[in-house]
Each structure stands twice: as structure tokens, then as C-alpha cells.
């Protein structure tokens, strides 16, 4: 059998409620300070839930160029910022003042650099603002920018326009697993030689009146109004997630290519697994059987024993159903070895970034490998007695782990699990 090339991470980018940029976001997550806050836009809209986790304020036109605010949905803006950071981190673009992509990629690599993004919704704010405009002012006053702003593949397309990347360019949607699924597919495109560099990750900017109202109607959002404990994954009193927004990006390449250009290697993408629950539109099966399959496939793909995994960045949304099912699934996959695994959910700080979650958490998984620190699960005070896991709470734990698993499970019963190693 042909040996598959090893795929490495050589660049990271993160725009998250815990902080802008990987350094700030990671510090924010380690500090365990919940990013949830009363959202004025939601209060004004009168939504039943008004807590949300926003990325820190920024000026799109100043940072990304004139006309950005008008032409690009917020979700595309966040993806542009994160991808620019990751490409610069990988040494593939050189930012200039007011132009984070500088002159873009070098001409001789452009055909071999691809984009693989995940997004659950796409241009949510554009939908929310344009549909009332259509109803009130009529078809003849509909914005010609609606389609390009709203399409869920626009972020990946726009990053290509700005960077010059002409390799494979796709967007995958597995709802709240989309960011992880994108990394999975990008990894496989590199393995099969269809690109030399893949810029992969996820993005979401869905904190709108319509989305928040609808998630609240499903009972998915917490009714806890205390920002500090609203998102409390695995806690006995958890009652739903807090909406978050942001983008996470990783730059991936084959190890030999990265070494040939003397790029710093942050981690290996050793395993990726995907599965479907084939069970229910939004609820996981109680035994987490679909999650079990995704994790087992990721471990088999990585060719590592469960005992080799030192840390799991859990999906851990803070909903009663997800956290219970994920805990059961982890016990099934790892057996007794799970007792030696430090489990945390960074959603205690960031809230749930939906289609961006899997990618932002992949960035945190890589950071855990690089720094030897496992982040705490903010907001969690008393771990649910029914959840038999070593959940890291209160403070970061020093743990020089060699391998990390990151889980992501989407509505539709679509599951993704990634394994990163040092």
C-alpha cells in the first residue's frame, strides 16, 4: 500500500469572541473569562434570549479596504481577517498597511493554493436585512448585492480574490461540524496531490434576530441571563448554548513541502473521521453512536490508540443532550483510557460558533499541543454527576500532551472528529 503523505499545520488564524488573532484568542481561552454579554442588537429586536458572544469591534473598511462594509457580509469579513492572519503566519503573504493580504500570494504558487471553508449559514445578516427591504419596498428595490453577499461560498471565493489562490475552492456544510469537516476534506485534497497548500477552516456570523429567535424556539439556547455561567459545558445545571461568531483558519501542507520551504511546523493533522447519526434532524441519539463512529474513524485514520490522546477539545455545547451523549460516546471509544484524558470545552469562553466552531477549536487544539496547556471549561461550576469525564475547570492545566482530539457535531446528525499530534 502506498504510504500517504503526512499533512502538517504551518499557519493559524482566529477571529473569536475570546480575542482577535490567535495569540489573544488563546490567552482569552486560557484566562477562562466568558465572552458572553448582553447584545444590544438582540435587545432592540426583542429576542427571547439577548446574550451572545461577539468578536471585538473593528472597522471593516479601515482593515479590509473601502466598500467592505457595504459589499461583504459580516461572515465574509471575519473569514478574510482570519485567513489573512493564517497566510501571514505561514509566511505565504506579507501584510501591508490597510491590506492584510499585501500583494497576495507569490505568482508562482497561486495555482497550487486552495481554499476549503465550512459555514453553517453563510450571510445571515444579509438575509435578515434584505428580506424586510424586499417586503416593504418591493421587488424593484431589491439589492443587487444580496446574492453575492449571502451565498455561503462567498467567503472562500473572496479569500481567493484577495490572495490570488487559484487552487481547488469549495465550501462544505455540516452545520456545527462544518469547520472541522473543511479541515478533513482539505487534508484529503493534499493527500491526493490536488493542491500543495490548503487554507481550511470555518466561519459564522449568525447572531441575528431571526437566527437567535429560531434557536431559542428550539430550546437550544440557555435562558440563564448570567454571562459568567450562561455557557457551562458539562455542568449539572447547563440548559443550552450561547450564540457566538467568528472564524478559524489553518494552513495545511504536505510535510515534505513544508520542510522544503523551511516552514515552521506547528502540528500534524494525523486523523480525521466523519459519520452520520441517521437518527434525527437536530437531536443526537442518547448513546452518541454517530459520535462514536466519527471518533473511532479519526483514531483509526491516525493509527493511534485512544491511550495516546492526552486532551479532548470536546464539542461540549452546554446543551443537556449534546454533552450527555458526547460523554457516553467518549467512554465507549476510549474505555478506561478516558480517565486519563483532560477534557475541556472552550465554548465556555467563546459560546458556540456554529460552522466556525470546529475550526476555531482545531486552532485551540494545536495551541494546546504547542504550549503544553489544556484550557479550562469556563462557566462550569459542578460537573454533572452523570458525566464521567475528567473535565478541566477553573484554570489551565499543564499537560505536555502528544496528541489531541477535537470533536464537532452538527445538526442533521453530521459528525466530525480530528486528531492532531506534535
Amino acid at each position: 500500500m502506498r504510504t500517504l503523505p503526512r499533512i502538517v499545520v504551518t499557519g493559524l488564524g482566529a477571529v473569536t469572541p475570546a480575542g482577535r488573532g490567535v495569540t489573544d484568542a488563546w490567552e482569552g481561552v486560557l484566562a477562562g473569562k466568558a465572552a458572553a454579554a448582553l447584545d444590544p442588537a438582540l435587545s432592540d429586536a426583542g429576542t427571547p434570549v439577548t446574550l451572545a458572544c461577539r468578536v471585538p469591534e473593528y472597522d471593516p473598511d479601515a482593515e479590509l479596504g473601502r466598500g467592505t462594509k457595504r459589499r461583504l457580509d459580516r461572515y465574509t469579513q471575519l473569514a478574510l481577517l482570519a485567513a489573512a492572519e493564517a497566510l501571514a503566519d505561514a509566511g505565504l503573504v506579507t501584510p501591508a498597511d490597510g491590506e492584510p493580504y499585501g500583494q497576495g500570494l507569490d505568482e508562482d504558487v497561486r495555482d497550487r493554493v486552495g481554499l476549503l471553508l465550512g459555514s453553517g449559514i453563510g450571510g445571515a445578516e444579509t438575509w435578515d436585512s434584505e428580506y424586510p427591504n424586499y417586503l416593504e419596498r418591493g421587488p424593484a428595490r431589491t439589492s443587487p448585492l444580496f446574492i453575492p453577499k449571502m451565498l455561503s461560498n462567498t467567503a472562500a471565493g473572496t479569500i481567493a480574490i484577495r490572495s490570488g489562490a487559484r487552487g481547488p475552492n469549495m465550501t462544505v456544510n455540516t452545520a456545527c461540524a462544518a469547520g472541522a469537516s473543511a479541515i478533513h476534506v482539505a487534508r484529503d485534497l493534499l493527500r491526493s496531490g490536488q493542491a500543495d497548500v490548503m487554507v481550511a477552516g470555518g466561519v459564522e456570523a449568525g447572531i441575528t434576530g431571526l437566527s437567535v429567535s429560531a434557536f431559542a424556539q428550539m430550546g437550544a439556547l440557555t435562558r440563564n441571563a448570567d454571562p459568567v455561567t450562561a455557557s457551562r459545558p458539562f455542568d449539572a445545571e447547563r440548559d443550552g448554548f450561547v450564540m457566538g461568531e467568528g472564524a478559524g483558519i489553518v494552513v495545511l501542507e504536505r510535510e515534505e513541502d513544508a520542510r522544503a520551504r523551511s516552514a515552521e511546523i506547528f502540528a500534524y493533522v494525523t486523523g480525521a473521521g466523519a459519520s452520520a447519526d441517521a437518527h434525527h434532524a437536530t437531536a443526537p441519539p442518547e448513546d452518541g453512536a454517530g459520535a462514536v463512529l466519527a471518533m473511532q474513524r479519526a483514531l483509526a485514520d491516525a493509527e493511534v490508540d485512544p491511550a495516546a490522546i492526552g486532551h479532548v477539545n470536546a464539542h461540549g455545547t452546554s446543551t443537556p443532550l449534546n454533552d450527555a451523549a458526547e460523554a457516553r460516546a467518549l467512554r465507549v471509544v476510549y474505555g478506561d483510557a478516558i480517565d486519563g484524558v483532560a477534557v475541556s470545552s472552550t465554548k465556555g469562553v467563546t459560546g458556540h460558533l456554529l460552522g466556525a466552531a470546529g475550526a476555531v477549536e482545531a486552532v485551540f487544539a494545536v495551541q494546546a499541543l504547542r504550549t503544553g496547556l489544556v484550557p479550562p471549561t469556563a462557566g462550569t461550576r459542578t460537573v454533572d454527576p452523570a458525566i464521567d469525564l475528567d473535565v478541566v475547570t477553573d484554570a489551565p492545566r499543564e499537560a505536555p500532551v502528544e496528541a489531541v482530539m477535537s470533536n464537532s457535531f452538527g445538526f442533521g446528525g453530521q459528525n466530525a472528529s480530528l486528531v492532531f499530534t506534535r
Binding site: 473598511d61 457595504r70 459589499r71 428595490r141
Partner: protein
């Protein structure tokens, strides 16, 4: 050239499109100002909202500059005002 309409176009380009006022002149092309065809349609919607004059696709075919657009809007305005009273009732 209708100076009131030129002022309206200039205000919209500055406020909604973030274009520096010093770059805007009758002879400035939309291309040079960084507006593509979708942006120009977006601009016409903003003009309609302010002054009630809507330039249709076919009326934009030969429009390249800010001045072209102002003149096209002005021509339409004159046409509209010369219609018999009560036609808008």
C-alpha cells in the same frame, strides 16, 4: 449639469460608498471610483430613495461617469415633470 443632482450623487458616494469627496467629479468614471456594475445598480437604488428618480438597466447602458449618471437622471426628471398633472395619482 443639474448641480442639485450632482450634489445628491456626491453625497451618496461619500456616505454610502465611502468614497473621498475629492475623488468625485462629473468626469470621474465609476470604474476609477471602484464601482462595478452591481454597485452602480445599488447606487441607483439609493438615488431613487432620496429623489424618487430610478434609472433602469437600459438607461445605464451608456453611463460610464458620474456626469453621465447625473445627466441621465436629470433627463428622466425633466421627462417626468413634463407629464400631464395627475398622472401620478
Amino acid at each position: 449639469m443639474n448641480q442639485d443632482l450632482l450634489t445628491t450623487f456626491t453625497e451618496i458616494l461619500v456616505e454610502d460608498f465611502d468614497i473621498p469627496a475629492e475623488e468625485i467629479a462629473p468626469e470621474a468614471t465609476f470604474e476609477a471610483l471602484g464601482l462595478d456594475s452591481l454597485d452602480v445598480v445599488d447606487l441607483t437604488l439609493a438615488v431613487e430613495e432620496r429623489v424618487g428618480i430610478k434609472l433602469e438597466d437600459e438607461e445605464l447602458e451608456d453611463v460610464r461617469t458620474v456626469g453621465d449618471a447625473v445627466n441621465a437622471a436629470d433627463a428622466k426628471n425633466v421627462e417626468r415633470q413634463s407629464e400631464p398633472a395627475g398622472s401620478e395619482a
